[in-house]
Subunit: 404 residues, 2 copies
C-alpha cells in the first residue's frame, strides 16, 4: 500500500451513527417513512431562523467582489468584534468576577472557523506534540478520537460518573499525568444530554490548576460547546473561561442557528490563557497547516447579523417531554436530559448492540453506546418530528415487553 493507511482506514470505516442513518434511509424507502423511527442523527430538525434568510438576501445586494473576497485568515475584524461583544454581554459578569475586566474577550482572541470540527482540529493542531495525551470524558463524540490521533496525540478515555454521567473528578485525577496536554469538555453533552454542574467544573478547575502548578505543564481545557444554547428547564451552562484561565472555547452555529451544512464557528483563546499570544498565533498557524484559508465569507457576515439570536428550542423541549413521559411510563431508565437533543437510555440488557438489534427489528433506530466508548446504553436523538416520537411508542412498548 503506497497511500496513507490511517486516511484509508478513516475513510473506509463509516461511523456507527452514519451507518445506522444510512440503514434508516434505505429502510424508509422500503417500507415508508412513517414506519421507521430513526433517532440516529444529530441534524437539527428546527429550520434556521428567518433572520438568516433575510441577512443573506440583504448581503447579496453588496458588491460581489467585496462580499465573496478572501477575508483575513482569522476572519473579518468587524465580525469578530461583534462576536466578542456578544460574548462579553452574556458572560462578562462570570469572567470579571474571577479575573477582572482584562478578561473580556476581544476580536483578536477569536479565530473564525469552518464549524466545530475545524475548531477542534485547529485547537489540537495548535497545542499538541507527539507523545501528548488528550483526555475525553466517556461517553464521548467518537470523532474526538479521530482528531486527537491525527494530531499525533493519544486519546485517553476517562469515564463519567456511571449513573449521573456528570464529571468523575477522582477518575480525572487518576488519569492526569505529565503528558496530559488537554481535556475536552462537551457540555451540554453529546451523547448524554447532561450539563456539567458549576460545582463540578470549579472542582475540575482546581484539580487542573493544582496539577499544572505541580508539574509545570499547563493543562488546557478545550470547551466544545455547539449545544450551549440548547438547554431545558433553565439549566445553567457555566462559562468556562470564567472558571479556568487556560480555556479554549470551540463553538459552532451548526446547532444553535441550525446551519450545520454551512460550516461556520470560531475558536476563542481565553484572554487569561498562560501563553495567550503564542496560542493565538499557533491557532492561526494550525489553520494554515490544515488548509483552512478562511471561514466562508458570506456566512461570517450572516453571523455578525444574527450574533444575538436565541434559538427557539420549543420543538426540542416538546419532543423531550414526549420521550421522557412515554419511555418513563413504559419503565425505561434514562438520564433526564438538560441540554442538546439527545436522551441517554439504559439498554435492557448489558450488550447495547444486542439491544439495538432487537430494537431494529421493531424499526426503532437509536445508536448503541459502545461507539461512544461506554457499554450498556443507547442514544436517542430527538431532533426529529414529534410524530416520529409519538409513532414509536408502540414499538418501545413491544421492545420492553419482549424483555419480560
Amino acid at each position: 500500500m503506497s497511500i496513507n493507511e490511517q486516511s484509508l482506514a478513516y475513510g473506509s470505516s463509516k461511523s456507527r451513527i452514519r451507518e445506522i442513518a444510512a440503514y434508516g434511509a434505505a429502510r424508509k424507502a422500503e417500507i415508508g417513512v412513517d414506519k421507521v423511527f430513526d433517532f440516529s442523527l444529530g441534524n437539527p430538525s428546527i429550520p434556521a431562523p428567518d433572520d438568516v434568510r433575510k441577512s443573506i438576501e440583504r448581503l447579496v445586494a453588496m458588491p460581489a467582489a467585496k462580499l465573496h473576497s478572501y477575508t483575513p485568515a482569522s476572519g473579518l475584524p468587524e465580525v469578530r468584534a461583534s462576536i466578542a461583544q456578544s460574548i462579553n454581554k452574556r458572560f462578562a459578569v462570570e469572567s470579571t468576577e474571577l479575573y477582572g475586566s482584562d478578561s473580556l474577550a476581544e476580536a483578536n482572541d477569536l479565530y473564525m472557523t469552518c464549524g466545530a470540527a475545524a475548531s477542534i482540529t485547529i485547537t489540537l493542531g495548535a497545542l499538541c506534540n507527539p507523545g501528548d495525551e488528550v483526555m475525553v470524558v466517556a461517553p464521548y463524540f467518537p470523532e474526538y478520537r479521530v482528531w486527537i490521533e491525527s494530531s499525533q496525540a493519544t486519546c485517553v478515555e476517562v469515564m463519567a460518573d456511571s449513573s449521573s454521567f456528570q464529571l468523575d473528578i477522582a477518575a480525572l485525577r487518576s488519569a492526569l499525568n505529565e503528558n496530559t496536554k488537554a481535556l475536552i469538555i462537551n457540555s451540554p453533552n453529546n451523547p448524554t444530554g447532561v450539563v456539567y454542574s458549576r460545582e463540578s467544573l470549579v472542582e475540575l478547575a482546581a484539580l487542573l490548576t493544582e496539577h499544572s502548578e505541580k508539574t509545570g505543564n499547563t493543562v488546557y481545557l478545550i470547551a466544545d460547546e455547539p449545544y450551549r444554547e440548547l438547554v431545558y428547564g433553565g439549566a445553567e451552562v457555566p462559562w468556562l473561561p470564567g472558571i479556568y484561565a487556560n480555556t479554549i472555547v470551540c463553538y459552532s452555529y451548526s446547532k444553535s442557528l441550525s446551519l450545520p451544512g454551512e460550516r461556520i464557528g470560531w475558536v476563542l483563546v481565553s484572554p487569561r490563557c498562560a501563553e495567550h499570544d503564542q496560542l493565538v498565533a499557533a491557532v492561526a498557524g494550525a489553520g494554515r497547516k490544515l488548509g483552512f484559508v478562511c471561514a466562508p465569507a458570506l456566512f461570517q457576515r450572516v453571523i455578525a447579523d444574527c450574533v444575538d439570536l436565541e434559538p427557539n428550542v420549543e420543538a426540542y423541549e416538546h419532543n423531550r417531554q414526549l420521550l421522557m413521559e412515554g419511555l418513563g411510563k413504559l419503565g425505561y431508565e434514562f438520564v433526564e436530559p438538560q441540554g442538546a437533543f439527545y436522551l441517554w437510555m439504559k439498554a435492557l440488557e448489558p450488550d447495547a448492540d444486542a439491544f439495538f438489534e432487537k430494537a431494529r427489528e421493531l424499526e426503532l433506530l437509536p445508536v448503541p453506546s459502545d461507539s461512544f466508548g461506554c457499554p450498556g446504553w443507547v442514544r436517542i436523538g430527538y431532533c426529529v418530528d414529534a410524530q416520529t416520537i409519538e409513532g414509536s411508542m408502540d414499538a418501545w412498548a413491544q421492545l420492553m415487553e419482549s424483555y419480560r
Copy 2:
C-alpha cells in the same frame, strides 16, 4: 514551550505576499489609494457573475432545514453528478482518446472541498507517509511547502526552465527517487503565468510512468488548477487525467467564479488511478482527519447552478495587454503570460529583494521572487483596476531610469 512549535512558527510568520499587501493597505491610507500601485495579491478583481447572486436568491427560498443541512462528507450527490457531467462534456475526448469511455468522471470520483487549499491538504493527507517526498516546480506557490511539511512529507523543489519557465524534464528526472510520492503541477502557473505545453506534459507522463514501472512506486500527479479557465490568446490547458492515469485534480471556484472567500472546490480522483477505490476512500478519510465535515452546503448548490459558466476574462486580458505594452516599451524583460493573472518580470538586479525596495520607494508593490523559491524576478498581479496599471507606468519608467 508547551504548544506546537510548527503551528506557532506558521502562525507567527506572515507570508511575504500578505506582508506586502498589508504594507500597501497602510500606505494607501497614508498617501491615497491612487498613489500606491499594489500588485501583490491574487484576489480576483472581477466580481462573481450575476448568475451566482441569482442562484443564491433562488436557493434561499428553499426550506431552510434542507438547504443548510449537513451534506454527505463528499458532497451532495446531485452536485457531484453535475460537475462530473460538465467535466466529461469538456474533456471526454481527451480522456477517452487515451483510456476509453471507462475513464469518464463519475460523481463518486469527486469529493467537494472548502477550496483549493483544502483540496491539496486532503490529497496530501490521503497520499503521504512520513519519509515521502513531494516535488514542486519552482517558482511555486509558497503554501505548497507548508502543506507538504504538515503532511509529514518533504518538499523537493525542482527548478523550471530558467528562461521559458516551462517544465524542465531533465531536472525532474534527476530529482525523482524511490521516495517520490507525488509531483504538484500548477498550470496556468502562479507565479509565472505560464501554461505547460501538451508536449512537455506528455513527456512528463512518460517519465513518471517509466519511473513508477521501474521502482514499483506509483508517482501521483497532483494537478492544482484554480486558474484553468483564465487563459489568453487561446492557450490550451491540457486535461491531465487524459495524459497521465495517476492524476488527482485539485480544483477551486475561487478564481474562475471569483468566490475566493466562500471556499468551494473539489478533488477528482481520476477513474484510471492505480489504486482508485482506495484513494477515493483515503481522500474521504483525510478530509475527516483534518476536520472538514462537508463543503459549505449553500455554495455546493450554487456550483451546481453555475457549473458551466465561463468566466469573462476581458478585464484581465485588457490589464495584461496594458502591462505587456507598457513594460515592454520601457525595456523590461518578462515572460508573456498565457494564463492566471500574474506577469513574471525579471528584476533589474540579481537581488529581487533589493529591486523590490527600490520599486517600493516609487510606490510600486510587486512580490519579489525569492518567496516563490527562485531568485531575480518579481510577480506582478494584474487582478487590479486598469487605472492602477496605467497610473503605475511613470513609476516603472523612473525605476528603469534609476538603473541606467
